[in-house]
């Protein structure tokens, strides 16, 4: 692959990101601008921004690579990442916006009236955020290495620097413009090459990648396209565990949740989520296409284990010549947009929590937020350099499992069940956090055994999520004397439309 076009494309994305961010800097004045864009982003813009932020390296590169390597079972990842927004829409979207809090720990404290729950939530937000940021930086390193032959740490450092500049000067307000742009860039970067690739494929006779005669990586096409055949020993359990982690984990990701506070009210929060569902559905039609065509045109990537690069390699291989190089450069630009947007969103979320909960009372406002952003980027960047070689999609998948086992039960029970107590929430967060966190550590250190224990450790959600719900419910029922004093008022705030004039208690911030 010719490195010149790839470098130009990546430079263009970085500059465009800074340029659009600079446009937003002018509107960023107050602390509220920095944290939640002063809660005044319209649904269409906000939905594009959410889509841009949500479609990470795992979606842009990982899905196609997984589909190429393991076939139909891997389609559950994009399906789950979209369905997760539907679950979020029906259970969380409007009440979370109406809670009026800035971050997940703010919500936990406002609902349960307990500082301990707040501290535990802060710890989990930072943990999940870093677990999600690390693979973004690693993916950036790999991609820049593929298009320009640089050292693995360079790509991550470039992403970290661009993100910091934008977060530093513009906060959430400028990030919103940047991310909206990046959704459309990512869609274009997959859509246009896909049309060329499909026409080449039709010209070549349109062989089905699922045909038994197509053998790629030692697997015939009919086996590749059959569900429940992936590498796992217990495919049915693994599939359901992926479904639970992705369907329920979306609502617990710190960068997803913080976006809801930028809507003007609960009703627009719902409408925004609906548009996001449409945007994600359109985008996720494309990556599996690259995976399927990869079986026909780039089977060598399976043998070399470089399936994550199929989106970057396929256009140059199939189209050839200058056109192919340009199309590959376009996909490289899209990949970089994916790293930048997801990292920006996560940095905002993690920095918000660090500046509010770790830095203490004396050090507040915009300055504290900027200092926290440096910490939020530096730690996972160092981790990414230290822990080289952990798969991009795998680390992201584990972040979903942890989010599903901790914040999903906290949000769902907190919003819909008035008998939840602080003791129940803490017990549940500890059980879910420790169990899923332990599984993450075991998987990252590659010490998972075979058999059922291994299947559960690599995809823990199907076990840990029910356990967390059970713990929260039972401990809450046993500690009913600890019910928050203002729970009725909080329920009024969470569920009633803003247009009705009601006493919603003191505003938390």
């Amino acid at each position: 692959m010719n490195s010149t076009y790839g470098l130009i494309a990546v430079t263009f994305v970085a500059l465009a990101t800074l340029g659009i961010g600079a446009y937003g800097w002018r509107f960023s004045r107050t602390t509220s601008d920095f944290f939640v864009a002063s809660r005044s982003v319209r649904p269409a813009l906000n939905a594009s921004a959410i889509g841009g932020e949500y479609l990470s390296a795992a979606s842009f590169l990982g899905v196609a690579g997984l589909a190429l390597a393991f076939g139909t079972d891997m389609l559950w990842y994009p399906v789950g990442w979209t369905a997760g927004y539907l679950i979020l829409l029906v259970l969380v979207a409007a009440p979370l916006r109406r809670s009026g809090a800035y971050t997940l720990p703010d919500f936990a404290e406002a609902r349960l009236e307990s500082r301990s729950v707040r501290r535990l939530s802060s710890l989990l937000v930072v943990g999940i955020g870093w677990l999600y940021l690390m693979p973004q930086f690693q993916g950036a390193g790999l991609s820049l290495g593929t298009v320009a032959g640089t050292e693995p740490w360079v790509g991550g450092a470039v992403v970290g620097a661009v993100v910091l500049v934008n977060v530093f000067f513009g906060g959430m307000r400028s990030i919103t413009f940047v991310q909206a742009f990046q959704y459309w860039l990512k869609l274009t970067a997959l859509l246009i090459p896909a049309m060329f690739l499909l026409s080449v494929w039709v010209g070549d006779g349109a062989t089905s990648p699922a045909d038994p005669s197509v053998v790629s990586g030692g697997v015939p096409g009919d086996l590749w396209s059959s569900p429940l055949t992936s590498a796992s020993e217990h495919p049915l359990f693994t599939t359901y565990s992926i479904i639970i982690a992705t369907f329920l984990g979306t609502m617990g990701l710190p960068h997803v949740v913080v976006r809801f506070y930028t809507n003007p009210d609960g009703r627009t929060a719902r409408r925004t989520t609906l548009i996001v569902l449409a945007l994600l559905g359109v985008f996720y039609l494309l990556p599996p296409l690259y995976g399927a065509l990869g079986r026909l045109y780039t089977p060598d990537l399976i043998a070399s284990g470089a399936t994550d690069t199929v989106v970057l390699e396929l256009p140059a291989r199939m189209v050839g010549g200058l056109g192919g190089e340009l199309l590959s450069a376009l996909t490289a630009a899209g990949a970089y947009a994916a790293f930048l947007s997801t990292s920006s969103g996560l940095t905002i979320a993690v920095a918000g929590v660090i500046s509010q909960d770790v830095m203490g009372r004396r050090f507040r406002g915009v300055r504290a937020f900027q200092a926290a952003a440096v910490v939020a980027v530096a730690v996972p960047l160092l981790l990414a350099v230290a822990a080289e070689g952990v798969g991009v999609a795998r680390a992201v998948g584990l972040a979903f499992a942890v989010a599903a086992s901790t914040f999903c039960p906290l949000l769902v029970l907190g919003i819909w069940w008035r008998r939840l107590t602080d003791a129940g929430a803490i017990a549940g967060l500890l059980v879910g956090g420790l169990l899923s966190g332990g599984a993450v550590v075991a998987t990252l250190l590659a010490v998972t055994p075979s058999g059922w224990a291994g299947a559960i450790l690599t995809q823990p959600a199907a076990v840990t999520v029910p356990l967390t719900f059970l713990t929260m419910t039972l401990v809450s029922l046993a500690t009913q004397h600890r019910l928050p004093r203002h729970v009725s008022r909080t329920m009024v705030r969470l569920h009633t439309p803003e247009a009705v004039e009601l006493d919603r208690g003191p505003w938390p911030l």
């Binding site: 139909t72 389609l75 559950w76 399906v79 979209t82 369905a83 927004y85 539907l86 679950i87 829409l89 029906v90 259970l91 409007a94 089905s208 699922a210 396209s225 059959s226 569900p227 429940l228 049915l236 599939t239 359901y240 479904i243 369907f247 009703r267 719902r270 409408r271 989520t273 609906l274 569902l277 449409a278 994600l280 559905g281 359109v282 996720y284 039609l285 599996p288 296409l289 399927a292 819909w416 009725s488 008022r489 329920m491 009024v492 569920h495 009633t496 439309p497 247009a499 009705v500 004039e501 009601l502 006493d503």
Partner: protein, 127 residues
């Protein structure tokens, strides 16, 4: 639909007292909720129930029609050999058909949830 939304409220009968000159307080649903009276709690419970029932309906549809797919493929392995438009059925469902289905569910939900809130508003703001 909240239970109180479908029927006409009982007609108020004015009982005049000797203190006709006293200021008459307007009693609305919102003040009942603010004072956390029993009636106010009933308004809130019915709103929560209605919204939760709606959410459960959508989640039920997702569990049955999408969550049921792996089980269906395990129980009826013949489905794996079925082809639609030259593509395996599993691929057609998981790579294409599921996204419009999810959007449709979301659209129906948003419409119904907004209607529930409108009914709630109408009920509690009526004196």
């Amino acid at each position: 639909m909240t239970p109180t939304g479908s029927q006409e409220p009982p007609r108020r009968v004015r009982v005049t007292s000797p203190r006709t000159g006293a200021v008459r307080r307007r009693v609305t649903g919102t003040s009942e909720i603010d004072a956390q009276t029993q009636l106010g709690e009933i308004y809130m419970t019915s709103l929560l129930r209605a919204q939760l029932r709606l959410a459960a309906l959508v989640i039920g549809a997702v569990v049955v029609f999408i969550g049921g797919l792996p089980l269906a493929f395990r129980v009826f392995p013949d489905l794996m050999d079925t082809h639609v438009l030259g593509m395996p059925l599993s691929w057609v469902l998981l790579a294409f058909a599921v996204y419009p289905f999810l959007f449709l569910l979301g659209w129906l939900y948003v419409r119904a949830a907004e209607r529930t809130e409108q009914d709630f508003t109408d009920v509690v703001e009526r004196s």
